[in-house]
Symmetry: C2
Subunit: 210 residues, 2 copies
DNA sequence: TAGATTGTTAATCGATTAACAATC
DNA sequence: TAGATTGTTAATCGATTAACAATC
């Protein structure tokens, strides 16, 4: 990785996946190069911002030419860490959990799903995407053996605290958090990415109401 | 509604649902009042920010006392527009769509789900939460009759553009967008709230990789 | 070479934090 | 009244945009 400076602001980081996606689109259209100006028009940003963002990590362009699309996408992938797959487990195999396990390709986003857990005994033994659903009793043993890096929390809010605490103690360093529980206040050193659907829908509600 | 000034920044708006949630928690613990200082500790913010945020909309506190929890939650609910239910339709009844329709209470977030559509003929006639799944052929007629305000897009990315365009022409003013397609560039006047799961997971990947 | 476009510095804008008078 | 805490103004900080010299 090519980080110039260590601390890149989270505003910049959150734009990287979107750059990655747009560059992928351009690539699949068979295009080779693009200027920051053209890309900015496409994405609804300023060219300045794109250049600033990229320069947090290195010099990927060429004066007078622009950026090589394939190269730039690969570089952003490397920066994001997509190339080195990390191990993820899913806690909670309800509708949301199953939907993620079955229809969401995590391997192109840096993760390998290696285990699924649910506290409901009736689910134990079922398989989703060739992975058996384990009982929660086996979580401890499984984590000690397989050392997952990240856990996807698709459980009711009331269970989030205890499950998260157990997982942190078992070495899990990040959560993809679908519960309505705020893990980041409690575990400031752990990486948490929240998918707070309620918050998102309420924000939409506000905007539509205006 | 009590908006002092018209244009409240989106940074502020995006914090409102979280305030609403924390106030609900406090309420369910039977508490009556809280100061901005106490709330800031709980939420991991500064007291200043909380007071600044709230003062975009009115004066809800009392010097020397703090804020009445129940009252403040209600006020924030009103500001967000949760009290007046808007009509939503769901496009795409795959795993994600079904999970939302079955396990996500939209009525507490300002929306009423009034229709479900899927292009797959085999799903037509099935019901989810007492709502029949309609064929996409019926979308036009349904919208003219029922005038939905918002559409939840749980469809493949390739279909997003056409479906969204049709819905905008039918009067839909907002999208809860689960596709990996950027609607906001194309429809700048329409409210779009994106749930880009891929982007979210990649961001987590970056943070874990550091 | 001339034109285009980068990388980077400087200027602007907006958001967060600090401070404090007003007041319950 | 004295203590607490708001609402609000001023100061700071960070992020975005503009400008331009460097250079392909």
């Amino acid at each position: 990785m090519n980080n110039k400076s260590r601390n890149v602001s989270s505003s910049v980081i959150k734009r990287l996946p979107r750059y990655h996606r747009f560059l992928g689109d351009l690539r699949s259209k068979g295009l080779d190069r693009i200027s920051s100006k053209e890309l900015s028009n496409l994405m609804g940003l300023t060219a300045s911002q794109i250049r600033q963002d990229l320069n947090c990590f290195g010099e990927f362009g060429q004066q007078g030419y622009g950026y090589n699309i394939e190269l730039l996408q690969q570089e952003i992938g490397k920066i994001l860490g997509l190339t080195k797959l990390k191990k993820a487990i899913l806690i909670g195999a309800g509708h949301m959990g199953k939907a993620l396990a079955m229809h969401f390709d995590m391997t192109t986003k840096g993760f390998n799903l290696i285990g699924i857990f649910d506290k409901k005994p009736s689910l134990s033994g079922q398989t989703v995407q060739n992975l058996p659903i384990h009982s929660m009793d086996r979580l401890d043993e499984f984590c000690r053996e397989n050392k997952p890096d990240m856990a996807i929390l698709c459980i009711p809010r009331g269970e989030a605290h205890n499950v998260a605490e157990a997982l942190v103690n078992l070495g899990v360093r990040g959560f993809w958090n679908f519960t309505h529980y705020d893990l980041s206040v409690e575990f400031p050193d752990i990486c948490v990415e929240n998918v707070h659907l309620s918050d998102s829908l309420m924000t939409l509600c506000y905007n539509i109401s205006q």
